[in-house]
């Protein structure tokens, strides 16, 4: 325990004095806050003179402004925080030949990797909590609404999900820092995985779904069964991407009007109208039930990733040739 604590403390000091990390987090905080405040201003304009709808506070995070919403932004660029925190965690110490020295001190070997992972998670939590607090503060001033208890709970769940999600990327990058000896290689490998999941999985899911179950436009309209199957396949495949898992989960938790994580819902026009007329927000607990499988999946892939990393690190030959 003592070893973990000492290494954790040093890693935190390193993160706080790392220009690289401070720059990337400052950038992400800045852009995130700009997005949310632009949304806030437009909400302010639109809702002038109207009664404030329920959960207007959460709109700050979920409304799509000019380009994308804050939630989408974090889903896409948040992983960079995790990657920057972890890509040189182990191999940096290998290159500087401090790893073998560290391991010849009276500490358990896993303290090193545990402390590095935990300090990364702590930094992620600090950055995310800071962003959400800044945006909330701005939102209170801009819209003039104080978030209600349920809104705060939803934000807390959102924060937890985001920390888990970015920790997954931290795990990926630490894994590469264990496998590769060069920090440049591990950085590139982590970025490659990020690009793969952010672009190719959704593209590939679409392509694969079209190949398996093509939707044909015929004179009689579209084949409903095929379209449904197509959408199902696309969804199943993209669920392999942590990004989809995360964005499905967080939009559901932050948008109580959504009752499913599914993007495509087939319904008739009448049905749609009647639904929207009598639409009520989903209670917090129900929203939570919907996203719990997603959260569990994110935790599972994060743990899996860290577990693999842990095992490889514990078995690695210590020698630094």
């Amino acid at each position: 325990m003592h070893g973990i604590f000492t290494i954790f403390r040093k890693e935190m000091e390193d993160h706080f004095s790392s220009i690289r990390f401070l720059l990337i987090s400052a950038l992400i905080v800045m852009v995130g806050v700009i997005i949310a405040s632009m949304v806030g201003m437009s909400i302010q304009e639109e809702s002038k003179g109207m009664a404030k709808p329920t959960f207007i506070f959460l709109w700050l995070f979920t409304s799509t402004g000019k380009l994308f919403s804050f939630v989408q932004f974090i889903g896409f660029f948040g992983p960079l925080i995790g990657i920057f925190l972890g890509f040189d965690a182990i191999n940096r110490e290998r290159v500087s030949r401090t790893l073998s020295k560290l391991l010849s001190q009276p500490i358990y070997r896993d303290s090193v990797i545990n402390a590095k992972f935990l300090s990364g998670v702590a930094m992620i939590a600090i950055v995310l909590v800071a962003i959400v607090l800044i945006i909330s503060g701005l939102g209170i001033r801009l819209i003039g609404v104080v978030p209600g208890g349920e809104e705060i709970w939803r934000l807390v769940i959102y924060l937890v999900a985001s920390i888990l999600y970015i920790s997954f990327w931290l795990g990926i990058s630490i894994l590469f820092s264990v496998i590769f000896r060069s920090t440049a290689t591990s950085a590139l490998a982590s970025l490659a995985v990020w690009i793969f999941f952010s672009f190719f999985v959704s593209l590939g899911a679409g392509a694969l779904a079209n190949a398996i179950s093509p939707v044909s436009q015929s004179a009689s309209g579209i084949d409903v069964d095929a379209a449904l199957r197509n959408a199902q396949i696309q969804r199943t495949i993209s669920l392999f991407s942590p990004m989809t898992l995360y964005s499905d989960a967080t939009t559901t938790i932050l948008d109580p009007m959504r009752k499913t994580t599914q993007a495509l819902i087939l319904m008739g026009p009448l049905e749609r109208i009647s639904l929207s007329r009598f639409q009520n927000p989903l209670p917090l607990l129900q929203s939570l039930f919907i996203v719990i499988p997603h959260l569990i999946s994110i935790v599972a892939i994060t743990l899996l990733c860290f577990g693999v990393c842990y095992l490889i690190f514990m078995r690695q030959e210590i020698r630094t040739i």
Partner: protein, 250 residues
């Protein structure tokens, strides 16, 4: 006291796949001596040290270091023993004191105690004047001496030094050897040092062991080995000569 055994290896063997790095090593080191573990590159010296510290598991055989089995109980061995790896590394963006303090904390030495110990060990290795500089600016010799200071800070009874003079200029080498010698005499620390530069370490070792391709081919005081191998009571013998005899036989 002199005869207390501090390291004992019995049939210690390490194989990497088909290659035998260390073969059936029998060794006893007594408290207070300076033991030179000599041999060419790739002879298995570093591997032996790693097994002594529990950083690598032996394929077979037994070893006890200061009364503990490093394979089963590496924690206690690492707590009591100082180890200077070959080409030791430091956190280059921290100064000497910060580097040593981190290691002290990992050794559970409280800051108020380590502050004095750090000053004292930096004094021993003559680095007190450079204490505020970032270690990245240190020369090779200074880094090596800082490594010794780091080891001394733990106040160990036994120190392992892996190629302590490698990469040092002749002046740095002499300083390092004098330093090691004085540690043994003044602080009564047992020193186990590995080197492939035989003539250098010759003057400070009480006993030497010669490793060739994983086998310990000879062990004893240098004069004894010389008598045995060179036959005559030569006035001048060098370890190099003795060693070459063994090397040719192997």
């Amino acid at each position: 006291m002199e005869n207390q055994t501090i390291i004992e290896a019995e049939g210690l063997t390490k194989k990497y796949g088909h290659q035998t790095a260390v073969n059936n090593l029998y060794l006893q080191i007594r408290e207070g001596e300076v033991f030179g573990f000599l041999g060419p590159n790739g002879a298995g010296k570093t591997t032996t040290l790693l097994m002594f510290l529990g950083l690598t598991e032996p394929t077979s055989g037994k070893v006890r270091v200061i009364g503990f089995d490093p394979t089963r109980d590496p924690f206690h061995v690492k707590e009591k023993v100082g180890y200077l790896p070959e080409n030791v590394g430091f956190y280059d963006d921290m100064d000497a004191r910060q580097n040593l303090q981190y290691i002290a904390r990992l050794n559970r030495i409280p800051d108020r105690i380590s502050a004095d110990r750090i000053t004292e060990s930096l004094k021993v290795v003559d680095l007190l004047e450079e204490v505020g500089k970032k270690v990245g600016t240190y020369s090779k010799g200074m880094r090596q001496r800082l490594g010794i200071a780091e080891v001394l800070m733990k106040e160990p009874k036994l120190i392992f030094l892996d190629e302590p003079t490698i990469g040092l200029d002749p002046d740095g080498t002499n300083r390092m050897l004098d330093l090691i010698h004085s540690l043994s005499r003044e602080k009564n620390i047992t020193i186990f040092l590995s080197s492939h530069l035989l003539d250098q370490v010759q003057r400070i070792c009480d006993r030497v062991g010669i490793m060739i391709k994983g086998d310990l081919v000879a062990m004893g005081p240098i004069e004894e080995l010389a008598k045995k191998k060179l036959g005559v009571d030569k006035e001048h013998y060098t370890l190099e000569e003795i060693y070459m005899k063994y090397f040719k036989e192997a």
